[in-house]
Symmetry: C2
Amino acid sequence: MNEKKKKISIYDIAAVLGVSGSTVSRALQNHPAISEKVREQVQRTAREMNYKPNALAVNLKRGYSKTIGVVVPYINRNFFSSAIEGIEEIANKVGYDVLICQSNEQHEKERKILHSLSQGKVDGVIASIAYETNDYTHFNNLAEDRIPLVLFDRVSDEVKAGTVRGNDYQGAYRVVEYLFSVGCKRIFHYAGFQHVTVWRDRYRGWLDALQACGITPGADWVRTGGITQDAGVAFAREILQGKALPDAIFSTSDWVALGILLELMRNGVKVPEEVAIFGYANEPFDELITPSLSSVDQFSKRMGCAAARMLIDKLNGENPEDVIIEPELIFRDSTRVSGMLSV
Amino acid sequence: MNEKKKKISIYDIAAVLGVSGSTVSRALQNHPAISEKVREQVQRTAREMNYKPNALAVNLKRGYSKTIGVVVPYINRNFFSSAIEGIEEIANKVGYDVLICQSNEQHEKERKILHSLSQGKVDGVIASIAYETNDYTHFNNLAEDRIPLVLFDRVSDEVKAGTVRGNDYQGAYRVVEYLFSVGCKRIFHYAGFQHVTVWRDRYRGWLDALQACGITPGADWVRTGGITQDAGVAFAREILQGKALPDAIFSTSDWVALGILLELMRNGVKVPEEVAIFGYANEPFDELITPSLSSVDQFSKRMGCAAARMLIDKLNGENPEDVIIEPELIFRDSTRVSGMLSV
DNA sequence: ATGAAAGCGCTAACAT
DNA sequence: ATGTTAGCGCTTTCAT
């Protein structure tokens, strides 16, 4: 009973069958130039000996890893985990593994991750940029190692990469249009940091739509910052201290919207009667809270699928075009203001 | 302008410096037997040439991958994504990458994943078993490839592995004790499939606690099944069709509890006044819904940390002991019934 | 149809 | 202190 069984290789199979290693290798790959008989023998023996190819060796030899690296700020934001679901689905279908990494929104961690991934661990990278990142060298460096890159959602003009993004400008624009259509005039905005494309685009959509409605926002109508629930609470407090309440608040993030909503209500402000609230991302909790939160669905899983398909195309030497996904407004109770149209 | 730059290896550095490959290799690893001068020269040149070691080659040579495989049913359940956060934190700290895979609760997908991982891709595996899985050969097979295994939360007696789990029996027991203490007698239970340890343990905790309170549950007090929101809706409908409402429902899952809660309220049943509801897992939405949902916190991130530490100990040849984490009851509005004690 | 041999990029005895 | 050499397990010319 020698329990010290070594990992078995093609040569162990070869030895048992009295053939060469190459024959085993070929038989295992169903190479056409191998006789039916030998092929079957080899495959049966391999199974019996519980042979498993060593992926490391295969990949080293072939020069690729059949693995896609995914770098996101957090995996437990629904937006990102849904996107990852989409990426996995597509990637697995064509034989790729998916290596998932979290930057925790930190520039430095993101840099380290990319450095590590570019040591031959992955053939390509799909990423969504951390918001602390303000220098994009680590992304652009991937090109030196011939690692194709696809960015989704959090993209940057300073990075040369394929992109998959929502039409954030449009989404924001339509939110404002809608709010205006139901009688809101003082439409505030929580904006997210402006070096991040998606947040800047939404900010611009908000601004342009307001102006198209003939409204000039006051200086205190907008605030930029991180996208946490706490940030929303802080914004709500500022608002409560202002002279007049807004008619509506459009937040670039559902989490911020949640903080705003809770803090306003905690202070006796009625939502949506006094202040309507519109979020962005359509997190699952949106329909669970009271009042339920209007938001913009970005089709995150579809984004993930598109990003994966794009990367795979790139890996196959093609030159896929950037993808823009139109968002969809989801109307819920937090904007069911009086005078509104039926939806 | 020759853009066709090849991936550079230690031999390219060696050639430039007129030394041997081994010298470069050693210099890069700060091997003590390398002169200060050469070491610095090599490291500088490596940096200048933008050299990156090929992880595949290193790992093939060393016989390990410095990667931990994580297999969970879904990554976008907060419980799992938090656990993964913990795993990553610990693993990265000691130089391991984390390869995350989703079984989607499917036996077959789980089997394929483990097969793929055992081709030298990972040094060890941390998993939480899919609930469709009823045969555990694929887990037990890992031992043949000398891949240590740690199971967390969803464990099984039929799998030989280190385990990290919550004290589910206790958690359930205390929930029932509490409900009884605030006057509930007819305490129903939504139980999850009974071949899954955690759900069986909670079922038993429920049963034993009831009996300790001198209560014998009716045959229709309990139902087993999947843990989706829809399952909760279905259970609520059954209950509504029964002759008498329960005083309380203890659900083994927050998602099921959510379905129950919404469906009951949709039908005019007051929660918690008529029926109190207690969930399990302490999902973030618990405190966002109305009424907020009482639940049991399992300290998922801590579980992930413990699992990672355990696996790493195993990889280091140690024999770590199983970990049991005591859960904590979180009391919210869904059980704030009349006659209750102050909490 | 099969085998011999080179080599993917690196590490680590074993020299010297 | 540094070089030589033999692999890690596999694929793939190039022979035969």
